[in-house]
Amino acid sequence: MTAEAPAIASGSGGVAHADPHAAASGHAQRGISNPILGMILFITSEVMFFSGLFAAYFATRAANQPWPPDVFADILDPLGPIIIATIILITSSFTCQFAVWSIRRGDRRGFNRNIAVTFVLGIVFLIMQAFDYTLLFGEGMTLGSGPFGTTYFTLTGFHGAHVFGGVLMLGVLLYRGMAGQFSARHHDAIEAVSLYWHFVDVVWILLFSILYLL
């Protein structure tokens, strides 16, 4: 039987020829590309991470009535600066998608413009969130001020960290875009990052809804 195995490997009749990369390329042409599938799976795991935090939030909220506690009854005003931050983040999701559409058309200048706007909007969101935190700290609400503060800052903090990560990725895209590294055919990284950015946006909409509106 050992005599047979090399025969297979050396390729007699009926044996598929494969150069070292044929195995990969045989299927790689179909469906979504590896980086995009990888990003989708990564986002899935991120969804589960936030699900854990959200589950903790709802469990904590259900066990602590009234919610918010009286001391912080009106501290979270949905019509305060946070609504502007929300609009900014949602807008950035659109500009990010415009960037994707631009590069799909092969419009590099359009891509660079849109991705730069997205990048700046992401930074502005972070600055506004930091500003919002200082306002809350000023009113005595911190991570340590009971379940309300703990859940609020944990949820928004981890979201902020994800925005920060997204901004870094956008920065890399912008740099690579300005270096002309993307084309209509070659831009998996852009598709992947835009998926991530939309995910971050959706998480924020959920967060805004349950923290400020619900």
Partner: protein, 572 residues
């Protein structure tokens, strides 16, 4: 290129240490996973021996400070679960999966290297706890708050924080590894390798990876919350500040129950490869096996609260029912394996013997699990040594025997040399006896009321004899590792040259040289079933069975093969 394939004895891993440290080759990374995991197995084993020595007889033997005893079993379990079993199986998968599906490497080789290197880093952080004031984490591998919150009698020191950070690191490594496996399996299969022609090992890694990607981030969230509680004044799990202690358990077990399947499914995959090869028969009920695996994966998310029956905070009937039901697909697999052996032509090589060890021991782990699934009986058994017996019959009797089957099975492919059969059998016999001597008496201890995680017990409690037996068994297990290490050592130097396919294997990894070239394959055989090499050896006609789905499926598979999946080079 072809010369590579024709010179199987060439050690393809000649490169220096720098080459190994910087490699992105899935085979080398897989082997590093295996070695790293084995080292942590030894570390975890030392802690186990310390614990068993303490419990050998009533009275304090070695731990004047009982906190150190608590550190020992906590670190034992954490190391064994997160730094041994999970990464060892991930390592075998890392080595085998791309080969089995005919791919040149993992989808993201550099991410693969990153996943690996996070493990020794995480392990070192974990063990660093012993050097901190207050020692390492000492609240069990479950680390339930409020015991893990800061408090004079709870977990005041940084050891618990290091435990949290280490687990987050290791978890991230798992998630990245899981994503890598999934993309590899979905996107990198060779022409002809349809989903239902994949080896069962690949299927189990696929389901495992789904569990890892879905469940691991959830425990990360629990750990992050615990960290915030401990260090930034949070109140998630602190009842006196408005938090809930049980919340942690729900989130923790939402991950940690699926984690049990993460620890056992790949081992099931290994033996599902070994049994058919060594009985010269196909796996009995290939598709049923896949559906059972997927069923376990899905049900695995709905049974977590069976670890919490005694908390008074869970809906008992639902979780009891789901727990009983998950026994069904597991039972189906057991019968599939046994009927694979049944009426075969068995060669009792070491991989098969370890696989049979898996079957016989995992069966006990399933049966004694049924006792705990029954809520009233669990009220008696929960947190006693019965549970310790149960989990070791699943994780040691199942996973560890399975992974040794895998190591003996793939060692020739990894190194080009065979392990010694005689030493392998000594290893098995010692380990099998030691294992049963250690863990079977724990059933008796548990049912007679000995709680787990205690450093000492009264001499009149009636637990002395069984504890002594368990301790002797523990040292026997330790002794069984010595012939294995010696075997690896001498076989690497003088072992029999393996050749490409020493076992008459069924799957693609045996179609390339041993060890394989960096790009894995020069040529791939036609893939028309889940046993492409078997087909090449015996012809497709050999597939005809009598009765059962095999008859209807074989021709259908052929047709599919003819129309789809013709790779570019396949036209000839």
């Amino acid at each position: 290129m072809a010369t590579h394939a024709l010179s199987p004895a060439i050690p393809a891993y000649r490169g220096g240490i720098y080459e190994w440290l910087t490699t992105t080759d899935h085979k080398k990374i897989g082997i590093m996973y295996v070695i790293n995991s084995f080292l942590f197995f030894l570390i975890g084993g030392v802690f186990a021996l310390l614990v068993r020595t303490e419990l050998a007889a009533p009275g304090i033997q070695i731990f004047q400070n009982e906190h150190v005893y608590n550190e020992s079993f906590s670190i034992h379990a954490t190391v064994m679960i997160f730094l041994f079993i999970i990464p060892m199986l991930a390592g075998l998968g890392n080595f085998a999966v791309p080969l089995m599906i005919g791919a040149p490497d993992m989808a993201f080789p550099r991410v693969n290297a990153l996943s690996f290197w996070m493990l020794p880093l995480g392990g070192m952080l974990l063990l660093l706890g012993f050097l901190t004031p207050g020692g390492a984490a000492a609240a069990g591998w479950t680390s339930y708050p409020p015991l893990t919150e800061r408090g004079p009698l709870s977990s005041p020191g940084p050891g618990q924080d290091l435990w949290i950070v280490a687990l987050i690191l290791i978890g991230t490594s798992s998630i990245l590894g899981g994503i890598n496996f999934l993309v590899t399996i979905f996107k990198m299969r060779a022409p002809g390798m349809t989903l239902f022609r994949m080896p069962i090992m690949v299927w189990t890694i696929l389901v495992t990876s789904v569990l890892v990607v879905m469940a691991t981030p959830v425990i990360t969230s629990a750990l992050v919350m615990l960290f915030i509680d401990r260090n930034y004044g949070g109140s998630f799990f602190l009842p006196d500040k408005g938090g809930q202690a049980i919340l942690y358990q729900n989130i923790f077990w939402f991950y940690s129950h699926p984690a049990v399947y993460v620890m056992v499914l790949p081992a099931m995959g290994v033996i599902s490869e070994v049994l058919p090869v060594f009985s010269r028969k196909p796996l009995f009920g290939y598709k049923a096996f896949i559906f059972a695996t997927a069923g376990i994966g899905a049900l695995g998310f709905s049974v977590w609260a069976h670890h919490m029956f005694t908390t008074g905070a869970v809906f008992l009937p639902f979780f009891s029912l789901m727990t009983f039901l998950i026994a069904v697909p597991t039972g189906v697999k057991m019968f599939n394996w046994v009927f694979t052996l049944f009426r075969g032509q068995l060669t009792l090589s070491t991989p098969l013997i370890f696989s049979v060890g898996f079957l016989t021991m995992f069966l006990i782990g399933g049966i004694n699990g049924a006792f705990s699934a029954s809520v009233p009986i669990d009220f008696a058994l929960q947190d006693t040594y019965w549970v310790v017996a149960h989990l070791h019959y699943v994780l040691f009797g199942g996973s560890v025997f399975g992974m040794f089957a895998g190591i003996y099975y793939w060692f020739p492919k990894m190194t080009g040399r065979m392990l010694d059969e005689g030493l392998g059998k000594i290893h098995f016999v010692l380990m099998f006896i030691g294992f049963n001597l250690t863990f079977f008496p724990m059933h008796m201890l548990g049912i007679k009321g000995m709680p787990r995680r205690i450093a000492d017990y009264a001499s009149d409690a009636g637990w002395n004899d069984w504890n002594l037996a368990a301790t002797i068994g523990g040292f026997l297990i330790a002794a069984s590792i010595l012939p294995f290490i010696w075997n690896v050592f001498i076989s690497l130097r003088n072992g029999k040259i393996a050749g490409d396919d020493p076992w008459e294997g069924n799957t693609l990894e045996w179609a390339t040289s041993s060890p394989p070239p960096p790009y894995n394959f020069d040529r791939l055989p036609e893939i028309r079933s889940e046993r492409p090499l078997f087909d090449a050896r015996h012809g497709l006609a050999a597939h005809g069975g009598h009765g059962g789905p095999g008859d209807e499926e074989a021709p259908k598979l052929l047709e599919e093969g003819d129309h789809d999946d013709q790779g570019p080079g396949d036209a000839a």
